[in-house]
């Protein structure tokens, strides 16, 4: 029984981390086709905003949402002044966002110093047999699931979601029907940034906030979203599920090194067999 619980916990946490680091990219790259190399730094900004706001005396749970809001606004500004001019120019986007990523790392280092900042979330722990499980890690899993459901509901059941999906499929037609596509692009990019910021904030009590932290996550985020294929949400869920199970189980049974290696190995095989990603052959869905 303990074993089942501990496996469920490892898989759940691993899945949650994959979801958190890749959901924002699923919107920005999966839907908008913007290769955002500064995605890891958006995560880092979320973590920094969270630690700063918490240090200013705000409750941790509220600071999560303020951090998301702040990164969302930052994302909209970035879209307005930079990304806007680069739609469809993949190589240029790549360079521009890489530059942005360097700029953000340098900027944050200059302002806050190179050391990492931490924010305490001491919720205590629950005991399962011989194992103590950090309650906060369970909160992380809950956040990941809530974020997933929220995003799905937004895309699937709201008028805004419908307009966004329509605009991404055919911007010219959307514009002809009276949609302000420029605004839709800005809002979508902002939404992707906001959920990335939220993810960074939620991860901050576990991993801290440090200028170079983006690079720890960016690779995994891209692997997940590329494996996902053209249906960003469904694909990200399945890819995170697959890699989460592998990483959770293998890292627990053997070691973190083997866990990471197995994930990368499976990713290579998967993309060889399904070059268009897991959802490559699906016709419908989001």
């Amino acid at each position: 029984m303990d074993d089942v619980a501990i496996y469920a916990y490892q898989i759940g946490l691993s899945f949650a981390i994959f979801i958190l680091i890749s959901l924002g990219l699923a919107v920005i790259f999966g839907m908008m086709r913007v290769i955002n190399l500064a995605q890891g730094e958006f995560l880092m900004l979320g973590a920094y905003f969270c630690t700063l706001i918490t240090k200013a005396g705000v409750d941790l749970w509220i600071s999560f949402f303020l951090a998301a809001l702040a990164v969302g606004v930052f994302g909209m500004i970035v879209e307005r002044v930079m990304i806007r001019y680069l739609y469809g120019r993949i190589l240029d986007t790549l360079l521009a966002t890489w530059g942005l990523s360097l700029f953000l790392v340098g900027g944050v280092t200059t302002i806050f110093g190179p050391q990492s900042e931490s924010v305490a979330a001491t919720l205590g722990q629950v005991t399962v047999g011989a194992f103590g499980i950090s309650l906060y890690n369970l909160v992380v899993i809950a956040f990941a699931l809530a974020l997933l459901l929220g995003t799905y509901a937004l895309w699937r059941y709201t008028r805004f979601g419908l307009v966004v999906r329509g605009t991404m499929q055919n911007p010219a037609m959307a514009a002809a029907l009276g949609v302000n596509t420029g605004l839709v692009y800005t809002l979508t990019f902002g939404f992707g940034s906001a959920i990335t910021g939220l993810a960074g904030a939620v991860l901050a009590p576990i991993v801290g906030a440090a200028p170079p932290m983006g690079v720890f996550f960016i690779g995994k985020a891209f692997i997940t979203v590329i494996s996902a294929g053209h249906l960003p949400l469904l694909g990200t869920i399945s890819a995170s599920g697959l890699y989460g199970v592998i990483d959770g189980v293998v890292a627990y049974i053997s070691s973190s090194v083997i866990g990471e290696m197995t994930v990368l190995f499976v990713a290579i095989i998967l993309l060889r067999l399904l070059p268009l990603g897991i959802t490559g052959r699906m016709r419908r869905g989001i």
């Binding site: 340098g106 194992f131 170079p212 932290m213």
Partner: protein, 412 residues
Amino acid sequence: MAFNRREFVKAASGAIVLASAPFVLKRAGIAAEEPIRIGNILDKSGGLNIYSLKQMQALAMTVEEINKAGGLIGRPIELLFYDSQSDNQFNSKYATDAMVKDKVKVIHGGITSSSREVMRPIVDKFKGLLFYNSLYEGGVCDRRHVSTGMVPAQQLAPLIEYMVKEKGGKKGYILAADYNYGHITSKWMQKFIRDHGGEDLAVEFFPLDVTNFAPAISRIQAAKPDVVWSALVGGAHIAFYRQFEATIGKKNMMLASSTYGVGLEQLQLSPEEGDGIVVATSFIDSLPTAKDFIAKFKAFSGDQSYVGEYGEYGARGLLIWAEAVRQANSAEPDAVIEALAKGGVKVNGAGGLYSVDGQTNHTTMDIHLVVGNKSQSFDLIRSFEQRPPSDTQMVCDLNKNPNDAQQYEIKL
């Protein structure tokens, strides 16, 4: 990464030398002398910069002090800084640049053992001299390499004896970074634990970008050790100390480390997360011998926070090299190596007496057993005076084999 800081630093240090020239001329009449050019290759950026930032400044401060006092053997020192960006590829590039293009007399630098092993063959090839100012796993036997930091026989032997014999930490669980430092250090940990009648339950390695330690923590809980030994390295691995405190907690299990504190981890964790971690180090800010250095460093850098061992290494490395240059009366690498081989290079530094052992080019120093406290600093448990680098001395004799240029590794 396209910023060329090196050019900037070169220009800036040149400007400083130029600006201070008339002053130095008046003082010592040496401005006309050709400067001694030295290189410092450290990680100003990237995930490993927590180890480098204070060391760079301490080294620059020491160069400035020597220059103000009239230079070294009558010549000013010109310092070139290269940012290796936490990426070994840049260590290789800049070591080559420093040797071939800039023709430096000595390279100070390298943090990780892998970065050292990238630079050492280059320095050997161009007949230079490398000062590696960092604690490491021991065993490098090369007359063109000088280690000024701690090796396992100095650091781990007293630490592990204390934990196993006095604190009753018989069963150990070892976590280490997944590169040569972690692999070799974990073997030394196993050896010392077994030597003192303890038992090593498991050894686990982590790539430098791992931040999720939940699987390891569950395995530790299943294995039930008395002590968790950490040789974890870098910014990502700090997450382990947070997650350990949130799950197992140091009140239930002891935590000791060969690397904790060297990256100023205690300032980045909450007081509770850092309280009670036991480490052995060759320098803490509160040493009586350190007062002067700490005051000067804080004034020089404008940074009032804890300085720590890796900051002091910068000053230590340069002072030891400068003393060897004085004894050789030359900055040429081969002459300095000759002087070091005689075994008389001794410096009274901020952490006590440092003397370079001519047989191995490693440094004998005082070691301090300390424990993290609630004010994000360390309390001294006890000190061990003048510990020799005996692990490396067992396998390396540069006087007998001057052409040796390899790293000996421990076998279990």
